[in-house]
Structure formats: C-alpha cells, structure tokens
C-alpha cells in the first residue's frame, strides 16, 4: 500500500534537483547522540532541509516529504511541512486519507501519524471513515491508546454516539478484561444518557455484576462498578451490599474485598445513624487484615496503612485496642 506513493529517490545530481543546494545537519565540533545515517538517508534529508529553508511550495517538495516520512515517520517537522504543501498546492485530501491510512496501519503507535490524520479529517470535515478505521486498528491491538483517543475525538466532535455502546459491548464480549473498553463504556454513557436515570444505573450495575461473575478477578469491572456508584454513594444503592457480599463465596478477589472496605469507609464517613460505628469499623479492619494476610499480600503494608488510617479516624475508643502497654 505504501509503495504506491513512493517516488524512487534518484541520485541527487539529477537535473530536477540541480538548482537546490543541500543543507547538511550541523552539530558543531562535538556532536552528541549522533545517528549514523546511510548516504541515501542523509541525501533525502539534506535536500529536505534545503526546501525547508527556502519554504519551497512545489510538487517535488511534496514528493520528497513522502520519502522523508518513509525514512522517519516521527519527524514532526516533515509532517508539518507536508500539511503546508497540501494546502498550498490544493491537493486532493481524499488521496491523502488513503496515504495516511496505510502509514498508520504500518506504524499505529506513532504520535505524528495520528495527528496528521486528525488534521485531514478536520479539513475535509469528513469523519465518515473514522469509526471503521479505528475499529480496524483496535482489532489488531484492542488497547492502542492513540486509536482510542482518535475515536473519542471523532465521536465527540461529530456527535457520532450512535452504536458506540454496542461496539463497546462487542469488545467486552471478546475480552471482558479490556480496560480501554470499560473506559469507553463510561465515556459513552456519561456523555449521552448519563448515569442519573435510575434505569440506566440499574442496567449498568447488573451488567457489571454479570461480567464479574464471568471473570471474578477483573479489576476493570470492579473499578467500573465502584466508579458509577461513588458519585451518588456506594451505600445509596439499595441491596448493593447484599449483592456484593453474596459474591464473596464464588467470586472473591482483592477487588471485591477492597470494594467492601470502601463501602464501609463511606458508611463511617456519612454516618447516617443507620450504622453501628464500631461494628462497621471492625468489619472494615477485618477486611484489611484479610487482604494483608491472605488475599492481597503484595500490598500487605498498604492494607495495614489503610487499617491504621481508618482506626485513627473512626476509633471512638470502644474497639479493642492492640496489645500494647497501658497508657
């Protein structure tokens, strides 16, 4: 695909380039981190620098940017200059879209290529290929941050929300642990229906609990569950505690236990009088202990720190003190 756009770079003493004096890089007497370029590489860029200096706007300049990009697609100056030329020469941006599509397929983790694509889409005011394109890139790497960033930009800028929740659900079917997909789920819902309507919140809570049952040790699902409930309060959702405690048998995980710790901490903080403070605190401390000793031992010191923090904040003196000397 990319070869369709190549001009074979001929020897620099061809007549077409005879009028231009190549400009070498100048690192002075003591170059640092010097890259050892082949002759061809250096030639292309020496001529590129010459064009840049004269700000030449021509077809040969445009062709040279393609050569330069092929050698180093991370050179943002070449991309910028190419954009200047595309506009000055009034080039067909549909052709440019084909070009950038091929380059991104080849180098999907390069920042410059995605920025270039965004500029072309903006100039054309045409986002019609973007959902399909990003889906294609994501089919090769479902967590490519550039692809997700571009996709979110397109959706938000051109209001292409329709069908995105379905797309997210497809991805979660393929991999329920895809954190990028969970993030996208939140992105879509928070900016369309929001989580305020009770039927939306209910649907999302139940959806997430189903996913947890399928894959209990999945931080993404637990983060999502907590994330959508926290704004209104974990304790404000009826029956939540029971549902989560019910999962403890078959779906226990450090995330479930952490969720319960946070639930109890919130209860302590809000202290609506519904709770027996001491009992709640002891439950939270018990969970921290379980996490530290058994369920999340890599974070043993952290869970002890959490317990100490809870203790000093909420201990009214009625809990059993640790076995230390009397004050």
């Amino acid at each position: 695909q990319i070869d369709d756009f190549n001009l074979m770079w001929d020897s620099p003493d061809r007549k077409e380039w005879a009028d231009l004096e190549p400009v070498p890089q100048d690192d002075g007497p003591n170059p640092v981190v010097k890259i050892a370029y082949s002759e061809r590489f250096r030639d292309v860029y020496d001529y590129f620098r010459a064009l840049l200096k004269h700000d030449e706007k021509s077809e040969r300049a445009l062709a040279l940017t393609a050569e330069a990009i092929e050698l180093n697609a991370a050179n943002y100056t070449v991309w910028h200059y190419r954009r200047v030329l595309l506009q000055a020469l009034e080039k067909d941006l549909r052709v440019e879209m084909k070009y950038i599509t091929a380059i991104i397929e080849d180098q999907p983790k390069n920042y410059q290529v995605w920025h270039h694509r965004r500029m072309v889409v903006e100039w054309l005011s045409d986002p019609s290929e973007e959902l399909q394109f990003t889906a294609e890139i994501l089919s090769q790497d479902a967590k490519n941050y550039h692809a997700w960033q571009h996709r979110q930009w397109v959706i938000q800028e051109y209001k292409l929300w329709a069908g995105e929740l379905e797309y997210v659900e497809e991805l979660l079917e393929e991999d329920v642990r895809n954190n990028s997909a969970w993030n996208q789920r939140h992105f879509v819902i928070s900016r369309t229906t929001t989580y305020s309507p009770p039927e939306v919140l209910e649907r999302e809570v139940q959806y997430t609990i189903r996913q947890i049952k399928k894959a209990p040790h999945n931080e993404s699902a637990w983060n999502y569950l907590k994330g959508i409930l926290q704004p209104t309060g974990l304790s404000s959702y009826a029956g939540l505690l029971e549902q989560v405690e019910g999962l403890q048998g078959s779906c226990c995980s450090p995330y479930l236990l952490g969720f319960l710790v946070d639930y109890y901490e919130e209860a302590l903080e809000t202290n609506g009088g519904k709770y027996n403070l001491t009992e709640t605190l002891n439950k939270a401390l018990g969970l921290c202990d379980l996490l530290a000793q058994d369920q999340d031992t890599i974070r043993r010191e952290y869970w002890r720190y959490v317990a100490r923090t809870l203790q000093s904040q909420y201990d009214s003196g009625e809990t059993s003190p640790p076995l230390t000397e009397q004050q």
Partner: protein, 362 residues
Amino acid sequence: MAEEVTSVDDFDQIDFLRDRHIRFFQRCLQVLPERYSSYETSRLTIVFFALSGLDVLDALDAVDKPSLVEWIYSLQVVPTEDESNLWRCGFRGSSHIGVPYNTSTGPGSPHPYDSGHVAMTYTGLACLIILGDDLSRVNKKACLAGLKSLQLEDGSFYAVPEGSENDMRFVYCAACVCYMLDDWSGIDCKKAVDYIRRSMSYDSGIGQGAGLESHGGSTFCAIATLCLMGKLEEMFSERELNRIRRWCILRQQDGFHGRPNKPVDTCYSFWVGATLELLDVFQYTNFEKNRNYILSTQDSLVGGFAKWPDSHPDPLHTYFGICGLSLMGEAGLRRVHPALNVSDRALQCLQQLHQTWREGCT
C-alpha cells in the same frame, strides 16, 4: 569487580551491573546506528536520559561537560533582531532543521520553520543543570514567551507552536520549565490545574485528557505537575488523594504496569513509583518484587534495561529502570527527586541557583 552472567531464572541473585549501565549510557552519547533514526527530533531527550542516568549512577566525571554544554546551547532557538519569533523560542531536539551550529545568545537568523519543542526545552534545561551550568545563557524571557504560545484554552499544551497533539505530557514539561526557571508566568496555572481535574477518570486514575483511560504515565505527569506548583493538597481532598493512592498502588503486579489488565513494564516502576512517593505511600509497596522485576529486564551483555525480560534495552527504559531502583534506595545510586526527575544533587544546584537569582533582585 567480576561481573557474572547469571541465569535469568535466578531472580533473587541478579546483581545490579553498574559498570555496564555506565558504559551503555556513554555509548548512547556517542553514535547510534541508523535504526534509531526515529530518535532524531528528540535526541536531546536521549542526552537527558544518559546524563541524568549517569548522574544517578554517580558517574558524571567521565563526561566532557563543557562540550556538552556548548552542544545544548547550540539547540536554543534565540530571538531574531526584531524579536518577531519570540513565540517560537525554546530549545530544539536536535540540528535536524539545518540551522548552522551557533552557541551565541543571539540575535538569531530567521528561519521559517525553526521553533522550540516543549519537551526539549524541559530536557535541555535539566541537562544544563545536571552539568553544573548556571543557565546564564538561557534567554528566560524567550523561553517563557515560547511556553505561553503553547497553552490551549482547555489548559493543556501543544509540543510546538506549529501545532501538534496536546496532552498531559506537555503540561508536565511546561511545569518543569517554569519550575527550573523559577517563573510561573509562562503558564496559566488555573487552566492547567483545571485540565488535570477534568482528566481524572471514574476509577480515580488520571488519563491524558478528559474521558481518556487512566494511565500511569499521565497520572505521574498530573501529580508531579501539581507538586511542582505546590498545589496538590489544594486541588484534591484527602478522600480523592486516597482514591488516587489506591489506583496507583494497584498497579503493582510484581513490577508495575500502566493500566489495569496490561502487562508490566520497567518504566512504570518510575512513573507509578514516583507518583506513590509523591503521595507518601511508596513505602507500602513490595520492594523485593519490584526490584526483582526491574533486574529481570537488565541486559547483562550490553548493559541497560528493557521494558520486558529478554528484550532489547533502550535509553528510556534504562534510565527509568535505574530511577525505579533509586526510589527504593538501591545501594550506589543517588536519590531522584520524584517530581522533577533529576538527582537530589542536581536539585541542590538548582536551588542554589534560585537563591542567587532571588538575592540579585533588589
């Protein structure tokens, strides 16, 4: 000291091969093969990894400091006679534009496409400080003017005035520049802080921008920026800070990863480790597992560190692997300032410099 080539399976017995890493960085500073051509526009950041790395390794003595200082100053984009390019000033990543080598403080010759890059201005200044330079040849007014032109309405920053992507990385770079120049006039702090707040995800991690997935790199950039500004506690309640702590500390698997359900990678031992240190809870992580992971990515032949075991080392992962070890107090390493990402020794030089600047103002 004999250097053993140990089996990669003997995790607990792997030594930190200090001399190999020193040589790795020294080689970086010389010549790189053509396959590193994608580094061309960011060569100054590679210099930073090498110099700061050697500084942390306490091995800067072998480096030709005066030559390096000159080379770095040759990358400064200085104002032209009529100062019409002030908005484009800062430091270049390399000589790739073709401007002739010039270390003078100006005036510069006009070039239609010559401008600074925020990450190069940041690493350029950091390198000068590491090399003991007093920044007297830095055109501070021009650097700050250059910074201003990079900030968008939403508070984030472009990398270059011609336009580029904008995200948390460049917010951090801009904050470092202001911190080092001891002058926050180059940033609208209110807008920057607002951008950070809006980038917080539902899971309490921080993404590259609003709506984007929370990520260890952007979380570091955001928290470190707030710390450099002195606004961390003003911005986040204790409850929010606790949630950020939780998100960060869950990144530890053995080493650290950057996002939930992603593989670990050596550099996150710094990005996430430093964030945890800034939040006062790094002490509660598992040092042994972290150290063993980082060392498992060490290249015992060539020196350096890679993102994963049995992978090719590169300057970035080598630098951040070493910094990750430094956070845990690894013997023989200088401590690294977790927000500014330079050694404590370099930070002291900077603080002394600031002292003299402030005393000079009467």
